[in-house]
Symmetry: C2
DNA sequence: GTATAATTGATTTTGAATTTCAAAATCAAA
DNA sequence: TTTGATTTTGAAATTCAAAATCAATTATAC
């Protein structure tokens, strides 16, 4: 947490930006919340602690947090931009259930390796990547197989 | 092309929907255009041939085309939904340049295999997946290295 | 043909993302 | 301190693609 905060402070300094209490609070709550949050969701959480904070501040700070490399955007199928932080999480991909919206975080180092190789072949300098696999999760498949008795 | 049209007709029948000349035209132009199109872009192309067509029709038809499995959504970084058709294209992933927006279509069968294995391990029934790698393409890297002479 | 059900397209509405701008806060220099 | 330049904030407005609405039109089964 403090390590991540310092990372953020360093980033802000580099950009000639200041660490304000709002920015610190947005980062703090964001890191504490283990969810893939939209701007609005995070805003609603923070509003409870500090009713004076504005949506625009949350929006802007979340953007800074992403630029600082502390968060990544995730797309879980709805149209909203979701942010997930990396504090306590390594890079991972997503299996996303199209029935229930549930998602599973997965890592397959072999896939990562092959991706990097692929990019080298194209002389392509990777910054980040995103792999989303859409389908039906185990629970929903079971439900489909055994529909409600009547 | 005709094969794809038949696919679409079958899909429509299954849903109790009708094949209209508008729907046929939208599909036809969409398949002919080798681009990752937004609704608006496709609308503008079709409008030239048939000025009476409405944007809503293109929007709705594109959605049907996707539901029929003929197109997939692609996300090239801007916020707009882009559609790409599969006619003459196998499944592929994208390398997307964050400098110039250019993208490269790539396939790595080993990655596909590993993805499928991963899903089997999680008893996850794959419908589709999307892999986007963001970074800097070869051309832009060259430019960065040799900035304009002065 | 007629009934009925779906489709169309101009238009409006929605909603998330983003911008605007005046007020407030920050901070270095006087 | 006080000042002045600069940044930040937050309420509100704007933007713009996506989606919904609805009366008029069209396709299809009967």
């Amino acid at each position: 947490m403090d390590k991540t905060l310092n990372l953020f402070i360093d980033f802000l300094k580099k950009q000639n930006l200041k660490l304000t209490k709002q920015r610190e609070e947005v980062l703090g709550v964001f890191l504490k919340t283990e969810k893939h949050l939209t701007v609005e969701e995070l805003y609603n959480i923070i509003k409870k602690k500090d009713p004076h904070i504005g949506q625009a501040t949350v929006f802007r700070t979340l953007k800074l947090i992403r630029e600082a490399g502390i968060a990544t955007e995730a797309d879980l199928g709805d149209k909203k931009i979701r942010y997930e932080h990396r504090y306590g999480h390594k890079h991972h991909d997503h299996l996303i259930c199209i029935k229930c919206g549930r998602f599973i975080e997965v890592v397959e180092p072999e896939i990562e390796k092959l991706q990097n190789k692929l990019c080298r072949d194209f002389r392509f300098l990777v910054e980040r990547h995103r792999l989303e696999i859409f389908g039906v999760c185990q629970q929903c498949r079971r439900k489909d197989r055994r529909p409600k008795k009547r």
